[in-house]
């Protein structure tokens, strides 16, 4: 399993926050000026990561490129609806990538119903005072993931990185289904505790 480098929190965390502020500025340029250079910079940073997310779920490089294009196109089209007070850029882009990935799974299944783009907003969170708070939330989560016990870390990675369902995680780790569910609940509760302290 390829694990992201969440285990090196502090140093990378503050640079992530700076990066996010830069990205926010770029998204605003795309939204307001349809700025292609700004868009290219967003692409350079996020495209390899989004593709990493898609390939991690078992898509071929070719299929991942298709979905990646849909994700990046949605970023271009919906930049104006991004609200930095509600979510960090990477959270926003993560929800777009998730939607496009699930949409692809759906199109591959038998009952096809054509759908247009779903509104790609992250789920409504309580509106924070400033977008800086969203960076701090990410920093806190990153540190908290690094501090999780290994067994809890692995169910988080298997869910978010590999996109495995509870039953698949149970199979992979050789655990009863109930154990997987309670482990996910405990891991999530710990991470939410960190986030809760920031609200």
């Amino acid at each position: 399993m390829t694990q992201p480098s969440a285990t090196e929190p502090a140093a990378t965390a503050s640079s992530n926050a700076d990066e996010n502020q830069q990205m926010v500025a770029l998204v605003v340029l795309v939204a307001e000026n349809r700025d292609r250079t700004a868009f290219m910079q967003i692409f350079r940073y996020f495209a390899p990561r989004v593709k990493g997310f898609l390939v991690g779920r078992g898509l071929t490089s070719h299929a991942a490129d298709d979905v990646l294009q849909e994700v990046m196109l949605a970023i271009w089209n919906k930049a104006g609806s991004y609200d930095p007070a509600k979510a960090a850029i990477s959270t926003w882009i993560f929800t777009i990538a998730r939607y496009k990935y699930i949409d692809r799974l759906r199109r591959e299944s038998r009952h096809k119903t054509d759908s247009d783009d779903l509104d790609l907003k992250p789920s409504d969170a309580p509106v924070a005072d400033e977008n800086v708070l969203q960076d701090q939330r990410q920093i806190a989560v990153q540190a908290a993931i690094a501090n999780l016990p290994a067994d809890q870390q692995s169910v988080i990675f298997l869910s978010f990185i590999k996109g495995l369902a509870h039953s698949e995680i149970a199979e992979q780790l050789g655990l009863p289904l109930g154990t997987v569910k309670s482990r996910i609940r405990r891991a999530f509760a710990r991470l939410r505790e960190e986030l809760g302290e920031m609200n």
Partner: protein, 215 residues
């Protein structure tokens, strides 16, 4: 409405992670529309997703992907923002988006006296997602389940031995449960149902007609 009728956090996390199949994923997205507290939980889980995306191993992206993308954008640099589908819809936006049209314009199929269904999705492992519409007062035939079954109430209400379920509630049943929901009189009931496999009808007649009614 008690927490017993809401999906648990492990499902919300897996939904946020994009780790659910399209049927379950739509189920959770629709359920969320009724509960602000669950939306907050999902928003927290999405922060985990964003954090991990930043730390994701980078895959190689060929320049041609960007070039193709830009030529698509050149063709349509300022796409029209689609008007939000009838905001007055009584159904969750995620559901109407999935269907691509209004719930009321769907083609319904006979499923039993006072009951109709329409299939929305079938998964690779025979998972199925459908809408069920039943007249007030109808008794749904007694049935068990192969695997798990989630029923989200979109309109009206029904009762089983385990309680009464109203709009926004999820009734979650597994193999161990055989039930016979009774729709509350005087109001039509519409449900979104996800099941891991076909339901098990307990009556001989039910088993005979099952292939015909599509559940």
């Amino acid at each position: 409405m008690s927490t017993a009728h809401k999906l648990q956090d492990e499902w919300l996390l897996s939904y946020a992670a994009g780790a659910l199949n399209p049927g379950r994923s739509l189920m959770v997205a629709s359920h969320l529309a009724y509960h602000d507290d669950l939306q907050n939980t999902v928003a927290d889980a999405e922060v985990i997703g964003g954090t991990l995306l930043n730390a994701m191993d980078e895959a190689e992206v060929n320049d041609s992907v960007f070039d193709q993308l830009m030529s698509r954008i050149e063709k349509n640099p300022r796409p029209e923002v689609k008007p939000v589908a009838s905001t007055s819809s009584a159904y969750p936006e995620a559901l109407t988006e999935f269907i691509g049209s209004d719930v009321n314009s769907l083609k319904w199929h006979f499923m039993g006296p006072g009951m109709q269904q329409t299939r929305l999705w079938t998964g690779p492992n025979d998972e199925r997602l459908w809408l069920l519409r039943a007249r007030g007062g109808v008794m749904v035939p007694e049935h068990g389940h192969n695997g798990e079954e989630w029923t989200l109430l979109l309109k009206g209400s029904y009762s089983t031995e385990r309680g009464t379920y109203g709009v926004g509630d999820v009734d979650s049943a597994d193999e161990s449960i055989v039930h016979q929901p009774k729709v509350t009189p005087d109001e039509e009931c519409v449900c979104l149902v996800f099941a891991e496999g076909p339901v098990r009808l307990n009556s001989m007649l039910g088993r005979l007609v099952q292939p015909l009614i599509g559940v």
